[in-house]
Subunit: 302 residues, 2 copies
Amino acid sequence: MTVLAVDIGGTKFAAAAVTPDGEILVRAEVPLRGPDSADAVLAEVVARVTAEVPEARIGGVGIGSAGPLDPVKGTVSPVNIPSWRGFPLVDALARMLPGRPVRLAGDAQCMALGEWWRGLPERERPRTLLGMVVSTGVGGGFVIDGVPYVGPTGNAGHIGHITVDPGGDACPCGGVGCVELLASGPSMVRWAAANGWTGPDARALAADAAAGHPVALAAFRRAADALATAILTASALVDLDHVVIGGGVAAAGPTLFDPLREAVARDAGMGFLRRLRVDRTSLDRDAGLFGAAALVLLAPQA
Amino acid sequence: MTVLAVDIGGTKFAAAAVTPDGEILVRAEVPLRGPDSADAVLAEVVARVTAEVPEARIGGVGIGSAGPLDPVKGTVSPVNIPSWRGFPLVDALARMLPGRPVRLAGDAQCMALGEWWRGLPERERPRTLLGMVVSTGVGGGFVIDGVPYVGPTGNAGHIGHITVDPGGDACPCGGVGCVELLASGPSMVRWAAANGWTGPDARALAADAAAGHPVALAAFRRAADALATAILTASALVDLDHVVIGGGVAAAGPTLFDPLREAVARDAGMGFLRRLRVDRTSLDRDAGLFGAAALVLLAPQA
């Protein structure tokens, strides 16, 4: 069966028809045009996919959404979509495509599952994978033995909001010294600006770091140290084989991954931590769509 | 079937015959008498149990052991038992009691499983439980939907060696600023002594804290802060319902749990973290034996 995969981010919606072999038959992507357009944009991306792939061929719907979300109730409350608070997204899609299973997970959880399914060669599939999105925020999701691990409330994998700097700043989440305050794109830019760097955004910061600008380099090292601590923490708790990282900050490539791998190697003490692989995603933006599809395609048969 | 449960600590060995209803029919406990006595002590506790419960009634063997261990190979290398390095404990017990399943997990993993099975009323059983032992070291284990989560190498749950003080001391594990450096009994005593407290051990430190000694109180607050950070980190990643803590430091009761619950409440930001219950074990030293038995009694039928 072909699955309708829906990927709901903070600033854009994407949808695709994905076959059980992992082929994307048709894809639609639309930016969110304003605070009240979420329902219309959702309807539009779904209509664009079903215009090309007949509804009768669609056997299920998989959704990855920016959080917070409640996968038990099937509701989402994406921070950047104020008109959706506790929005019953699963019900809304079940009404558009009645009689099919509709499954929902977090965007980073879908990214991890997409990476597991389509990003890694089958013989290299890890037993324990952490997928991370390092971008405007920092999110994560686990895939354990091929199944997304979401926890009782669906919130497992919140690696952006673990404390890596106990004496640090208060985080909007209510915690202190969270990873996101050190390693998200906007946090890196803010820190660099406070230390004399001038530039518009994280992409410019990455370019300057690659060109050797000392403050930009320091911002990436600082982010890499925070990410390394978080990754080793997750490994010590969950016994990870592999970490795959996507998102805008990961697009900096070696500028991020060189200091990150160095910090992981430096701080990994116990033997079982030293097998950990840390890679950049090979799928980029499609990881989320593949993962959303896999929620249905790889689900245990009921 | 009745199970032989074996609990191997750094300084003592215990064994018991445990029925499927969770009744302990007979129990034996022997201190380790010297660096070379491990094999003899193991044989002695097993012999004492099988003297009372006929071998024919014993249908399996469950072992919880101090780490490190390799549950895949069935070997253990307890730090405080130098004569056992990669010791084939599963094979050794399979030879003593042939033809039965023999299962091995870490001591803290067994403590968590024992707590899940026998410490908590059935209707209060959490979907996600972290069991911790705070004692000479700090260890942990997860039980997820009634099954110990041990990870691909069997090392999941190493909460004592996650970094909560990134600028802190080097840890013997090879990491930096680990929980164990702040919250184990010997670490607390060391810190208090460096700050003017005089006393022999963590038990005396707890008594002085309960009596209002300011340095002793500060040592417990410092440990509680480290444990709270670690517990909230595990919750953000694994989406925990409940944490149960045993071990010598937990025996301090409110002296530990008051500042610990305060710190958890203070630092828990995201909504799903705020449901977390943090309790002292109700089973004390039997948790490990119950958990070792549960490795066999609750195992999915092959």
